[in-house]
Symmetry: C2
């Protein structure tokens, strides 16, 4: 007897999980999302999804895998601006003839689909708008990380953010989450070097603050970590709490 189906279609896919938590979607919206889900296109790891300066023709929805916005400096240095996780939107703008303000690259193999147009559905538009606001809030958090936190706190803060975001998409739980990125990628996201990331991770592992093995991360005491750093969960609307706390944990 399988309490949870092993592979089947039981729990909704991450993107649907996330978006339906951002706004009260109607059945038509869910149907549109299911259609998108069936229409995913794969981009291989390390490939470009969108190039800086390029005109954006459609909003896309990230169905699976990790991507990131990135800027390259003339001397080859690299800065990841933010991570894009399943359920996140790529190229969602409010104005006409938008240009990509940063390159988007696939960190892992990634599945993308055209996002169902918001034109027909106020709820879908609301979900997209909330998603955009959350992305902005995460950017602000990134600024604080880079500007005012030391290496260990940067790592902790980012892991907390990823935990929070992946939970919203149903991809993280009490047993942690998949973190399919290298230490060098983490370094380029946190404005550090991979050497230093490595050393600080060892310390954090020793202290028991972080468990990261075989591409999977678990934070034994998220609340304590958040308190120490001074991080509050992202909140962009007064309507629904929009958080996906562990059910009665």
């Amino acid at each position: 007897m399988s309490i949870r189906p092993v592979a089947g279609a039981a729990s909704p896919p991450p993107a649907m999980t996330r978006l339906s938590r951002l706004a009260a979607l109607a059945e038509a919206d869910l149907a549109a999302l299911r259609a998108a889900e069936a229409d995913g296109k794969v981009v291989r790891a390390r490939r470009e999804i969108l190039a800086e300066g390029q005109e954006i023709t459609e909003t896309r929805l990230l169905l699976a895998g990790w991507a990131a916005r990135v800027r390259l400096l003339p001397d080859g240095r690299r800065q990841f601006l933010n991570f894009l996780l399943p359920g996140d939107l790529v190229g969602c703008c409010g104005h006409s003839r938008p240009l990509a303000v940063a390159t988007v690259t696939a960190l892992t193999d990634v599945t993308l689909a055209t996002a169902p147009p918001g034109a027909g559905s106020a709820a879908l538009r609301e979900a997209y708008a909330v998603s955009r606001a959350m992305e902005e809030a995460h950017l602000l958090a990134q600024v604080v990380r880079l500007g005012r936190l030391n290496a260990q706190d940067r790592i902790g803060d980012l892991l907390l953010e990823l935990d929070e975001r992946l939970r919203l998409a149903g991809l993280a739980g009490p047993d942690g989450f998949e973190l399919p990125i290298t230490q060098e990628t983490l370094a380029d996201a946190l404005g550090l070097t991979s050497v230093h990331i490595n050393r600080m991770l060892q310390l954090m592992r020793r202290d028991g603050g972080v468990v990261w093995r075989q591409g999977r991360v678990r934070l034994p005491d998220p609340a304590g970590l958040a308190l120490r750093i001074g991080r509050a969960p992202v909140r962009v609307t007064a309507s629904a709490p929009a958080t996906a706390a562990a059910p009665a944990g």
Copy 2:
């Protein structure tokens, strides 16, 4: 002999200058902006304009003065997230019941007015959307500054951004622009200490890269500086170039 009128009503106010460069506004839009211009309310320097977590009830337009979004850490450290200049929007969101994701404080005495509602005018909505997109682009630039640039390049890059943005509002020209902030504020924006800002500014003044006297800044060679750092002007739409380059400079 005054080539430019000294005090009068000749050149349009900064906010109108900026917004009318972001989209093709109709006469009705300009009238609405003029009305807003006449309805400004003053917030004194160091006062809070908006508190983090507070529900946003209306979008406001910054008519005069400098403000900034800021985050405070539990230990008292401070990080300015971005500067808000005349013509910028405060609390512009796309979703329902938005919450402020960061505190907004006045850096100088500031004049604010309720932004004319976009409901009636597609052009006004477009201008607001473009403004939002530019703000996001500036946030990305801030992430790169803090993550990958050293102190001198951070200062240079930020001054270039301010120059570009103030030009758009008609507040900067070949003779530079007003920079009504202290070195400590600059430090809290750039993730540095005021002591280090002071030392680096002295070096940059000696090298001739920056002239900053009595609250006024001039960059003798913006293009060269931009090239060295690897900064490109912000571009968010394929429609109008939206830049306010010096006329045939």
